[in-house]
């Protein structure tokens, strides 16, 4: 491990660490554009110059590895002057359309100009003009004039996805990012180029002109789109509700996790949040009798569910839990099942089409918490449960989230089962064809509206956090189930997700020793 000195402070870093990362370890920022820890070294922007003792002129930090005894200075007059020059070069042909640029507020040209530029502009000649507002694919749009040609986007498509759609064409100041002939930027990770683009050259078509970034609040969470559980930031627009058609969640951004998703997320996950503010969201509990829908209060709904659980013999109750529920929800459900001695429980409903999977992030299992449901002992035979309902052995069927009519099961079999049961209770956030047939529908909070944890396919327990208030009267499933437990006479329910997790960890060997604090931002593995 080389030990070096940066700005007079000693630091020891693993061999192979470059000077940008070594400085970062000390909290020292070396400004840069083209360097990205997830991509190869390009050395193109020339901004990351530092002074190294016994070196005649400033050297780029990205391509210099820390060495034992190296003495590095990041703030000499010479380095500062070089940075100013490089900033000027980056900006002479830049259109400066910040007022209409989505990137404004999180643009590294703006940030670094304020921190390291602040020269008086002296470009008086006509700037180079390039194409603007060019769609590159379904999600990404290019403004070639704003591009600083750092080549991050090109390297992403070459090195991470291996799809190679992008190139830099022409030479000199005519150089331009573009698609190779016949190509479209439509790989499954395409929008990551927007995140790594340090400027407003690549923007998201979905987020374009939606809301200014400084109005957004950021919450750390986990993508519910598949069993990987990529770490994300949920960006919420609370302060300008009239912007963006009232959509509360404005966008998702990947959040670095070395063990899960690195810097990336897939497009399906990124745009999967639309359901949160969708018209299908359920806001109040209601009952359906002979095709007539009547609003109900939570007290009525809980009493009805608890009543049904008590009315039917345990063997007449079947529960289809969901691998989309959080660990806390599933644990609360287990408590309910235990209290009533209900045995017929399952969670795996086969999807109509097999999920896609790749070597990068995407998992075939499109549920975030199948592993958690397994570890909590809810893995039963779902097909047998359905058959029992059809055979009228199960008289009360309780379904969480699933739309059985969109599954691989034949429609006739599903309709047969749903039609046969006397009481069909459905809990979930968004209405679907199955909930349309339920006698009781209980609105659940969406994943961004609540606390909880998912266990990913590798056994990593990760926290989702509440970014917005639940819509209408929706409640997290752990709360709904806690109220049912209380109605069943189980005593006071845990008031928060964290308390539920504490009980879960105490009661479940795989989760022993885990707590929200221990899980933190990066997650913790369950016991093997």
């Amino acid at each position: 491990m080389p030990k070096l000195t940066i700005n007079g402070r000693e630091v020891e870093v693993p061999a192979g660490t470059n000077l940008i990362e070594a400085a970062r370890a000390l909290g020292v920022e070396v400004p840069h554009y083209c360097y990205h820890p997830g991509l190869s070294i390009a050395g193109q922007c020339r901004l990351c110059m530092v002074d190294i003792e016994k070196t005649p002129r400033p050297t780029i930090a990205c391509n210099t590895l820390a060495a034992d005894g190296m003495v590095v200075l990041t703030e000499t007059e010479r380095v500062k002057e070089t940075r100013r020059s490089i900033m000027e070069f980056h900006l002479i042909n830049h259109p400066l359309d910040c007022p209409v640029c989505d990137q404004a507020g999180e643009c590294w040209l703006q940030i670094y100009y304020m921190r390291h530029g602040l020269y008086d502009p002296r470009m008086t000649d006509e700037k180079v003009h390039k194409p603007k507002a060019v769609p590159l694919g379904p999600h990404v749009i290019l403004d070639a004039e704003r591009c600083i040609l750092c080549s991050r986007c090109v390297r992403f498509c070459d090195e991470v996805t291996g799809t190679g759609e992008l190139g830099i064409f022409h030479r000199g100041d005519q150089s331009e990012i573009g698609l190779f002939p016949g190509q479209e930027l439509a790989n499954k990770y395409s929008a990551n180029v927007v995140d790594i683009c340090p400027v407003g050259a690549l923007t998201e078509r979905d987020f374009r002109f939606a809301v200014r970034v400084w109005y957004l609040d950021v919450t750390k969470s986990v993508c519910p789109g598949c069993a990987r559980g990529c770490n994300v930031e949920v960006h919420v627009n609370r302060r300008r509700p009239h912007h963006n058609e009232g959509r509360r969640v404005a966008r998702l951004k990947p959040r670095f996790n070395a063990d899960v998703n690195k810097w990336w997320i897939c497009d399906a996950g990124r745009y999967g949040f639309k359901a949160v503010d969708d018209k299908t969201r359920l806001r109040e509990p209601f009952r359906r009798e002979a095709g007539t829908v009547t609003d109900a209060s939570w007290d009525e709904a809980i009493a009805a569910v608890a009543g049904a659980l008590e009315r039917y013999a345990p063997d007449e109750v079947g529960v289809l839990a969901s691998p989309r529920m959080a660990n806390e929800d599933l644990f609360a459900l287990r408590r309910v099942l235990e209290r009533r001695g209900i045995r017929r429980v399952a969670f795996r409903v086969p999807p109509a089409v097999d999920g896609d999977q790749d070597e990068i992030l995407i998992r075939a299992d499109k549920n975030p918490n199948a592993r958690g449901a397994e570890l909590l002992g809810l893995d039963g035979d779902a097909a047998a449960l359905l058959a029992a309902a059809r055979a009228r052995q199960v008289k009360c069927l309780w379904i969480f989230d699933h739309d059985l009519l969109a599954s691989a099961w034949p429609e006739a079999l599903v309709l047969g089962a749903l039609g046969a049961v006397e009481t069909l209770v459905w809990v979930g956030a968004n209405a679907n064809a199955t909930s349309e047939r339920a006698h009781w529908v209980l609105p659940a909070a969406a994943w961004v509206e609540r606390e909880g944890t998912y266990t990913n396919f590798e056994g990593r327990v990760q926290r989702l956090r509440q970014a917005v208030e639940p819509l209408g009267q929706a409640l997290p499933e752990w709360e709904i189930l806690g109220r049912v437990l209380e109605a069943l006479g189980a005593g006071a329910r845990p008031p928060r997700a964290e308390r539920w997790f504490r009980e879960l960890a105490a009661a479940t060997p795989a989760f022993a020793g885990l707590s929200y604090q221990a899980i933190g931002d990066g997650g913790q593995m369950v016991r093997a």
Partner: protein, 408 residues
């Protein structure tokens, strides 16, 4: 001073490009001698000869060869730079057309020295006839058994970019990529073409090698100065009576070259300025031509020997216009990879153009100088520093000519 010709010794023969003529004039006699030598001994001989690269940078050739890692297991490549893109330079084309076997024999020796089994010759795309001649010579050399027995030569044609003459840009292009220079480190001798240790040498540099093997390092060193041996080919163009290629010692002066070899100045007959080493070399005034043309001589004079492309300007030549033309070249040829060069070559050209059109402003000259100085030394390759040479020297040495074009 008009020393014996080595590189151009056969140029007068109409059949000089054939194997027969090459052999008849003592060709392919160095190769058997080299075969009897240890690779290390060849490297040492070249070091002692003070042969320095004639492609532009003037780096000592033997020293460069010694950078190839000893005991390297995989392939090692020899790459010949025949891209000859430096404005004012047209010597390598003569060598390819008129003495291609000298290059092949030099490559055989060099390949043995660096333990390479494969050489590439990267020929400027516009050089059609030189390519035909050289490719034909390669076929002859295969037929005669010089090539194909432990050493193969691949001929590769460029597609028209100055930057593909920069050695790492050339390697990238050879690998089938965009001709973007690579970051150093790693240097080509450690990780070059296709990831293998690679030596890149200019055509003329390698053509010297058989002579050194045949006649000894001491003889070659004695032809030049203390720090650079041998002769070189000067491409003389512009306002001289007899433009063309001249071979002479590296120790002659610029005055001797212009007046004795090239016959003196035309135009109005009065010398105004000379660019001594291709367009990237800083310009010299008429009173600065009593300098020797070796690498160190010109470096001490604040310019460079470069590719020995000597561009002569008489008093009727407009220096601002000349700079505008040069600036346009660099703006057009910048590969665009790194920011200072990509952005400022275009900017500086626009300023030069404005000045020549009579739309310059008072602070333009200082702005050009400042921009050039700020960019110098910050880029990936030497292209930009090559552009800075003319930007700064033309303005500093002929400032009043620029000022005369700026409206007051």
């Amino acid at each position: 001073m008009t020393a014996e010709k080595l590189l151009m010794r056969n140029f007068d023969r109409a059949d000089s490009h054939t194997l027969e003529a090459y052999r008849a004039t003592g060709g392919y006699t160095a190769w058997p001698k080299a075969q009897a030598l240890d690779p290390a001994a060849i490297v040492e001989e070249i070091k002692q000869s003070n042969l320095r690269g004639l492609g532009g940078a003037g780096f000592p050739t033997g020293t460069k060869w010694s950078f190839i890692p000893k005991n390297h297991a995989g392939p090692v490549y020899l790459v010949i730079n025949a891209d000859e893109g430096e404005p004012g330079t047209f010597k390598d084309r003569y060598l390819l057309e008129r003495d291609p076997h000298a290059l092949i024999e030099g490559m055989l020796v060099a390949a043995r020295a660096i333990r390479s089994a494969r050489g590439f010759v990267y020929i400027r795309g516009e050089y059609v006839e030189p390519w035909r001649r050289f490719a034909a010579a390669v076929r002859e050399a295969y037929d005669a058994g010089y090539l194909g027995r432990g050493f193969d030569v691949v001929v590769h044609r460029g597609a028209g970019a100055y930057i593909c003459g920069e050695e790492t840009g050339l390697i990238a292009s050879l690998e089938g990529k965009k001709g973007w220079p690579k970051l150093k480190p790693p240097f080509p001798a450690i990780k070059g073409a296709f990831g293998a240790p690679t030596i890149v040498n200019n055509v003329e540099t390698i053509c010297h090698v058989p002579h050194i093997i045949n006649r000894g390092a001491a003889w070659f060193a004695a032809l030049g100065t203390k720090t650079q041996g041998g002769t070189r080919m000067y491409s003389v163009s512009g306002r001289v009576k007899r433009p063309g290629v001249y071979e002479a010692s590296v120790a002659i002066t610029l005055r001797q070259l212009i007046y004795d070899l090239a016959g003196g100045v035309t135009g109005n007959g009065r010398l105004k300025a000379v660019v001594p080493g291709g367009s990237s070399a800083a310009i010299l005034r008429a009173d600065e031509i009593d300098v020797t043309l070796d690498v160190d001589g010109l470096r001490n004079a604040g310019t460079m020997a470069g590719s020995a492309g000597v561009i002569v300007m008489d008093e009727t030549v407009s220096i601002p216009e000349a700079l505008m033309v040069v600036a346009r070249f660099y703006a057009h040829e910048s590969c665009g990879q790194c920011t200072p060069c990509r952005e400022s070559t275009g900017w500086i050209y626009k300023m030069c153009h404005r000045i020549v059109e009579g739309r310059g402003t008072k602070d333009d000259l200082d702005k050009i100088l400042d921009v050039a100085r700020r960019g110098a030394g910050t880029t990936i390759c030497a292209f930009y520093d090559g552009a800075v040479g003319p930007y700064i020297s033309y303005i500093e040495k002929f400032r009043s000519e620029f000022e005369a074009l700026i409206p007051t």
